[in-house]
């Protein structure tokens, strides 16, 4: 793929597709290479048409994307990668490359920082999804971004030991395991747990947060993550402001633990209300729909462990908003069902009224 100083765009596209995008969807080894950079990424977004010459691989990826999308919405075709998706994939490629432990040397650390900056700029060049379909399409590519993990292997033998970060140890070191008393220990490290890093971990977390902000459905579907913490951004609020987007978001959230989702949404909603109270209305409506769904038995109730303060905030805000929605004159609920829901909401969330 790498040429003698000249690399065609198609070659970059193939390298990006086969090395990052396909394994990101199908699973397997992600092999980031030389940094792509902003310009190449934008060029990919504009001009890449055929991602790969391996049509079988392309078909498998498309099928996996459809399967991923069908977890949330009944569609049969997700289409080829769009320009924005090429750019986001290139940015992720550069982020992953910035985490290369081989950059953790005195003369290469600057390159790692530069890669992170390039990735950030690349991401910034991509706007939020224009519609729900585009949000779903981006999600099918980047849904497993935070699942990327590196396998570090530690090999010890009778006279020494060595650690291999993200590469397979040579077979010669594992030869004659009985005689040489070889012990091989493999440990899988998550994307945000990698060490050593050539740059500050907070920079990487920030770049990943920016990346997630460009794929709001993925951002919502991984809202229970530890880092980067979930927050209501303009893209996620815009997504759930639409009826279809909120429905898909509800389905994505329904696949996560209820208490953890409540805690993450509560924390994010509290922050959004502090910044812009009127802008957080879609978030409150989402919480209200979750409360109604729980009252109707569509969402599993929380039992056992006591709820965190943020989770209680989210549930009470959702119940209060739901009551307001039910009592609104334009509420479309039948009267009998509305009364039952109001009683259930007040009873479940200990609301007076």
């Amino acid at each position: 793929m790498g040429g003698q100083g000249v690399t065609t765009l198609d070659a970059v596209a193939v390298r990006l597709f086969e090395g990052v995008m396909a394994p990101l969807v199908l699973g397997g080894s992600v092999r980031p290479g030389d940094a792509i950079g902003v310009c190449a990424a934008l060029a990919l977004g504009i001009g890449a048409s055929a991602p790969t010459t391996d049509h079988e691989l392309l078909a498998r990826v498309q099928k996996a994307r459809v399967r991923r999308a069908r977890l949330l919405v009944p569609i049969d075709d997700v289409g080829p990668p769009t320009g924005a998706e090429w750019v986001l994939a290139a940015a992720l490629h550069d982020v992953l490359q910035a985490m290369n432990p081989r950059l953790d040397t005195a003369i290469r650390r600057g390159a790692a920082a530069r890669l992170a900056t390039l990735a950030s700029h690349t991401i910034a060049s991509v706007g939020p999804p224009k519609n729900v379909h585009e949000a779903v399409s981006r999600h099918t590519w980047l849904a497993r971004t935070l699942d990327v993990a590196r396998t570090d292997t530690s090999v010890s033998w009778w006279s020494g030991s060595r650690v291999f970060l993200g590469v397979d140890p040579p077979s010669r070191l594992q030869a004659w395991p009985g005689l040489r008393r070889v012990h091989v220990t493999r440990a899988s490290r998550g994307l945000l747990e990698l060490a050593p890093l050539a740059i500050e971990r907070t920079i990487l977390v920030g770049v990943l947060a920016e990346l997630l902000a460009r794929t709001p459905l993925t951002d919502l579907a991984t809202c229970t993550r530890a880092v980067p913490p979930f927050g209501w951004g303009s893209a996620t609020l815009a997504l759930i402001a639409t009826r279809a987007g909120r429905t898909i978001a509800m389905r994505a959230l329904a696949r996560l633990p209820v208490a953890e989702v409540d805690e993450a949404l509560g924390r994010a909603t509290r922050g959004a209300l502090a910044k812009n109270q009127s802008g957080a209305r879609p978030a409150l409506e989402l919480l209200a729909e979750r409360a109604i769904a729980e009252a109707q038995g569509h969402v599993g109730a929380v039992t056992g462990t006591p709820l965190a303060e943020e989770a209680i905030f989210a549930r009470r805000m959702g119940a209060a908003t739901a009551l307001r929605m039910l009592e609104a004159p334009d509420s479309g609920w039948p009267e009998e069902e509305r009364v039952q829901l109001r009683m259930a909401l007040r009873r479940a969330h200990d609301l007076r009224g």
Binding site: T7, T8, L9, D10, P23, L24, L26, G27, G28, S29, V30, R31, P32, G33, D34, A35, I36, G37, V38, C39, A40, L42, A43, I46, G47, D94, L96, Q97, M99, N100, P101, R102, L103, R108, A111, A112, R114, L115, L118, R144, D147, V148, A149, R150, T151, L165, G166, V167, S188, L191
Partner: protein
């Protein structure tokens, strides 16, 4: 006048008079004419000596009648029923100087006697409106009723006779004590361990000058000790009565003229106390009675008087003797445990291949530093190794053919060792004891077989196949100088 009734005579002149099966002239009623009230009392006393008035009480009527001459006499009417009853009454009436008649309504003829065994019949009836017309071989007389005599009132009016011997009678005593003496008397009975019941009865004031009822303590003493006879008989304010029938008692030292037990005129729920001197005391309905112990003195502990608890008890060392195990002459049987010394364990291993299935399944073994203890409820005879033990108490074993001395109950021996319920106790021939924890015993079949080596085979998880494959980040070479991408002009022509 009357004439004797002849044998086989069937026609009688007296109305209401007939012949019974024996041919005796008999009316519906019998009547005894008595000259005075004391003769009536005599009649009652004589009759109740051997018979009860219960049978004739429903029809009994006693009256004071007056003849045309102005003489007053007493009539004693009753249902004749049969000549036997009439004969009995006639004999008693004869004893007390009374005359016996029989009839139905108004005309009564003389009852039979030795002169006329079939009785008498009146040939000429008197034309009269009098209540009674009596025909006797010596007179015919009419009588008018002056007044009726009530049996209960008569009995209550009769003064008991002095009879000191009644004080010696055994049995129940009813002691009536004046109000002031009541509590002291009850306390005295309580202190003297005298059983009995007590109640307080009230009588109306004895005179208009009294404004409160008269209260007396009535005590029922089933067995009054002899030493208290003097107390209840000689103490002023205390009156002792002896039950003379149901619902009636007579003062001790006196006896009623009539057998009161034969007179069913007293209510069982009440009590009539017939005093030797004075009017009887009548209690219409007995108040509830309480045992004497109810009135025992009650003393409260002073505050803070908690029960004293023994701090410790001292062992009775001076009677203790060491436990010994001696040979027993009795034939031993049912050896259910054996102690196999360590040097015999190889033999046990070899024997394991020859043991029957039932023994292997039932036997339990615990391997200790002393050797292996094997227990089997079915017996250990099939394992001819070690020292056999007999279980004399649950989880207490002594060597077979030995016994413990002194001869104690097995449970006492077990208690003396103070072994935990989870421990099995073995007493050796030298008197030393060893305990083996119950949990250390494992079934012989699980203990005897060495576990063969095994190799784990991990099944492939189905979820893994259906789930997402791992995304493994591989580290690629970056070269001496990492490439950071190219400028936009490089890609312009390609796009």
């Amino acid at each position: 006048m009357v004439e004797r009734i002849a044998l086989h005579q069937t026609r009688l002149h007296t109305p209401g008079l007939g012949l019974d099966a024996k041919g005796v002239a008999l009316g519906a009623k019998g009547l005894v004419l008595l000259p005075s009230i004391d003769r009536l009392v005599m009649l009652l006393a004589a009759y109740t000596r051997e018979h009860s008035l219960e049978q004739i009480a429903p029809t009994l009527a006693m009256s004071v009648v007056k003849s045309k001459l102005g003489t007053r006499e007493i009539t004693f009417e009753f249902a004749a029923e049969s000549s036997d009853r009439m004969d009995r009454m006639a004999e008693i009436a004869r004893l007390v100087g009374g005359l016996t008649f029989t009839g139905t309504s108004r005309h009564f003829v003389q009852y039979r006697d030795s002169t006329a065994p079939f009785g008498y019949d009146a040939l000429h009836l008197l034309s009269t409106d009098a209540v009674f017309a009596l025909y006797h071989d010596r007179f015919s007389q009419t009588y008018d009723l002056e007044r009726r005599i009530d049996l209960r009132a008569l009995l209550l009016r009769l003064m008991p006779r002095v009879d000191p011997s009644t004080r010696l009678d055994a049995g129940l005593r009813i002691v009536v004590v004046e109000q002031g003496l009541g509590p002291a008397t009850v306390n005295y009975f309580v202190r003297s361990r005298v059983e009995g019941d007590v109640c307080v009865a009230e009588w109306p004031p004895e005179s208009a000058l009294d404004d409160s009822p008269v209260q007396r303590w009535v005590m029922r003493v089933p067995h009054l000790p002899e030493r208290m006879q003097q107390l209840v008989h000689a103490t002023p304010g205390i009156t002792c009565f002896i039950p003379a029938g149901q619902g009636v008692a007579v003062e001790s030292g006196y006896r009623h003229a009539v057998g009161l037990r034969a007179c069913p005129v007293f209510d069982a729920t009440g009590l009539v106390l017939l005093r030797g001197v004075g009017d009887p005391w009548v209690i219409d309905r007995m108040p509830p009675m309480a045992p004497f112990s109810t009135f025992a003195r009650v003393e409260m502990r002073t505050e803070g008087g908690d029960a004293a608890v023994a701090v410790r008890t001292l062992p009775a060392d001076f009677v203790r003797v060491p436990l010994r195990v001696v040979r027993s002459s009795a034939r031993w049987r049912d050896a259910t445990a054996t102690c196999i010394s360590p040097d015999q364990l190889p033999l046990l291993r070899r024997l394991a291949y020859a043991l029957p299935r039932t023994i292997v399944a039932q036997a339990r073994i615990a391997v200790t530093t002393l050797g292996a203890f094997v227990r089997s409820e079915a017996g250990v005879d099939s394992i001819p190794l070690g020292t056999f033990f007999v279980e004399i108490h649950p989880r207490l074993y002594v060597p077979a053919g030995y016994q413990v001395t002194p001869s104690l109950a097995p449970e006492v021996v077990a208690r003396a060792f103070d072994a935990q319920p989870s421990q099995v106790l073995f007493i050796g021939t030298d008197g030393r004891a060893w305990t083996v924890d119950e949990g250390a015993f494992a079934t012989l079949e699980t203990a005897m077989l060495e576990a063969p080596a095994w190799e784990p085979v991990v099944a492939e998880a189905i979820e893994r196949t259906l789930g997402d494959a791992l995304i493994d980040l591989k580290v690629t070479p970056v070269g001496p100088v990492p490439r950071l991408g190219a400028g936009p002009q490089k890609w312009a022509g390609k796009a």
